[in-house]
């Protein structure tokens, strides 16, 4: 019992500085109203997206041709069975929006994860080792930067075919450059710091220095960047979906709902308006949170 308590105390000693740091950071973030509002909005969006089957178990694909183009409930002719109305095939718009949120969020967060992983590794290695490796990676980054992103993704998707996996991979791998550059920049300044020099002096292997000592220090710019990029990726995903190059049908996505609704723009305003509102609320939440995180964690990154 005593031994266990002692061990716990030792463990606590070890992790306390990091915990306190994280706590302070959280308080710093929470002090910014924009971060707080954005964070709460995003948590709500995530909760709704994960939990909607509990309170709205309507099939987004079920057609009811007699109830085509039912307007939202608050309008004349609207019914509360379809709170946000129905589309050209009588499918429930709210159910489709809720299912579509899963696609957008899944693609957004996963693609950022793929991009960040690729960017972290390349940025760390090229910043730390420098030299020829660094120039090769940075020249490749230049090429990727020069490529209009949208064209790169649509041309690759057109060749590979549309699937959620391809989408995540293509969006992720086209976006690694920003991470690699940001991290490389931080590493360049970090590797001159005393703590890195000290661990090198006592013979710590490079691998350990990179992942144990440098990586935790580039975490805040990474968090800020990653958050803001989720927003961009979601917009791109909806754009690809709009062009018919997103997740294949019948899975409802916000982009495809807009593309399909566009044909009926004169008769059914809600079909072209509501999916956009859904995208905007999600992106707004992420941008607010990202801005707040940036101000709290790293004021130098204001211009990203």
């Amino acid at each position: 019992m005593n031994v266990q308590a002692l061990r716990n105390a030792q463990l606590f000693d070890k992790i306390e500085p990091r915990l306190r740091y994280a706590g302070e950071t959280m308080r710093e973030v929470a002090r910014r109203p924009s971060a707080l509002v954005g964070g709460v909005m995003l948590v709500l969006v995530l909760l709704i997206s994960l939990g909607f089957p509990l309170f709205y178990p309507i099939d987004p694909l079920e057609q009811d041709l007699l109830a085509r183009f039912t307007p939202p409930a608050w309008q004349d002719g609207g019914v509360w069975v379809h709170p946000l109305g129905t589309d050209n095939l009588g499918r429930d718009v709210l159910a489709r929006l809720l299912h579509g949120s899963r696609v957008s969020l899944l693609v957004g967060f996963s693609a950022v994860l793929v991009a960040a992983l690729a960017g972290i590794v390349l940025g760390l290695v090229s910043g730390y080792y420098g030299g020829r490796l660094d120039s090769i990676v940075m020249r490749i980054a230049d090429v990727f930067m020069a490529y209009p992103f949208m064209l790169l993704t649509i041309s690759v998707i057109a060749v590979l075919g549309t699937s959620i996996f391809n989408l995540i991979l293509v969006l992720g791998l086209s976006d690694w450059v920003t991470y690699a550059r940001t991290i490389r920049g931080s590493v360049l300044s970090l590797k001159e710091k005393e703590f890195v020099e000290a661990s090198r002096a006592i013979g710590t292997p490079h691998r350990v220095i990179i992942f144990r000592h440098i990586l935790p220090n580039v975490f805040s710019p990474l968090l800020v960047l990653g958050t803001l990029r989720v927003a961009n990726i979601i917009i791109w995903e909806s754009g690809l979906s709009f062009l018919g190059m997103g997740v294949p049908p019948p899975m409802p996505t916000w982009g495809r709902m807009l593309a399909e609704g566009r044909i009926y723009i004169t008769d059914a305003w809600w079909l072209v308006t509501l999916p956009g509102v859904a995208i905007m609320i999600t992106i707004l939440a992420i941008n607010l949170l990202g801005d707040g995180l940036r101000d709290a964690l790293d004021p130098r990154l204001r211009n990203i």
Binding site: V143, S155, G239
Partner: protein, 308 residues
């Protein structure tokens, strides 16, 4: 200055080679490009004929060099669908896209820079908070959705503006507004933050203390330095604008290269897709190079001999 120019030129050449490699290889990603270009029920003879016609029987590296050599001479191959040189199609459509992107860029700069300056000068005022909130909304709106909303309001409800096509100034208004909005938001935020930084510098205090009017301080002293990052970002964003035209041109049936590339993808016209991607990327590189040159002019202090 000359060594810097040469180095920059060498970078550009490297990027162009890289771009040509990516443009060449992406259609090989799926394995057999010929299968992509033909309908699923194509006969064996048809497949072989197309493979022979496009030179896919040669080794990959040989194909690449042939492609690159022709591209240098301005020959990007023929469109499979239109049966005419891809370059001819691109040249026909490019002015429309450039017009759209330029209009969007002008709108963005003309609206955003003054907003950014006023927000920075009147920091914390209602105007500042209002415009920054507006900018945040602007950044959070997909531009193609904004396009659709503009159509809903100005064409469907009010009947003021045409929904699609190109020709008059009225046709240009909605697509360029939609394309330029997120850029406007971004420039407004950028201008504000750069101005805030510059306004805190010593030379601004000097200018003020020698009794210059605030107007002069801001327009002559602060703005000139704040312009440098704005010009850089504007150059970088021009390429993204060209990419962004892909969706906006589809929404407004704007006859530019963006719409051409989407149609080419659905027609399985990959030689055309390849050419468009290559040409747009080259334009992007050229614009960046020009921006760098402009940079030298705007900021004579930059040390171009650092690598010597």
């Amino acid at each position: 200055m000359l060594p810097y120019l040469l180095k920059r030129l060498w970078h550009t050449v490297f990027v162009i080679i890289g771009i040509s490699v990516i443009s060449f290889f992406f259609i090989h990603l799926s394995g057999d490009p010929v299968m992509l270009m033909l309908p699923a029920d194509a006969s064996h003879q048809e497949i072989e004929a197309l493979r022979e016609q496009l030179g896919f029987n040669a080794p990959l590296y040989e194909q690449y060099f042939r492609f690159a050599f022709r591209a240098i001479q301005g020959d990007f191959g023929n469109s499979l669908y239109y049966k005419i040189p891809a370059m001819q199609l691109i040249i026909e459509r490019l002015p429309a896209s450039l017009e759209l992107a330029t209009a969007a860029m002008i709108i963005a700069l003309v609206v955003a820079v003054p907003i950014g300056i006023i927000s920075a000068v009147r920091r914390g005022s209602l105007l500042d908070m209002g415009s920054m909130l507006g900018a945040l909304f602007g950044l959070s709106m997909p531009h193609f959705w904004l396009g659709i909303m503009l159509i809903l309001l100005f064409s469907v409800q009010l009947g003021w503006l045409p929904t699609s096509g190109r020709g008059t100034l009225a046709h240009l208004i909605m697509p360029s507004l939609a394309l330029g909005l997120s850029l406007t938001a971004m420039f407004a935020r950028l201008t504000r933050s750069v101005m805030l930084e510059v306004l805190n510098l010593d030379y601004i205090r000097t200018a003020r203390s020698k009794g210059l009017r605030e107007r002069m301080v801001i327009s002559k002293h602060a703005l000139k330095n704040a312009l440098i990052p704005i010009v850089t970002v504007a150059g970088m964003q021009f390429g993204f604008l060209l990419g962004g035209t892909v969706i906006i041109e589809t929404v407004f049936a704007w006859p530019g290269v963006g719409r051409l590339v989407v149609q080419a993808i659905f027609n399985r016209d990959y030689p055309l897709v390849q050419s468009i991607v290559l040409v747009l990327a080259l334009i992007f590189v050229a614009v960046n190079f020009l921006v760098d040159m402009l940079y030298m002019y705007l900021d004579p202090q930059i040390n171009y001999f650092e690598d010597k």
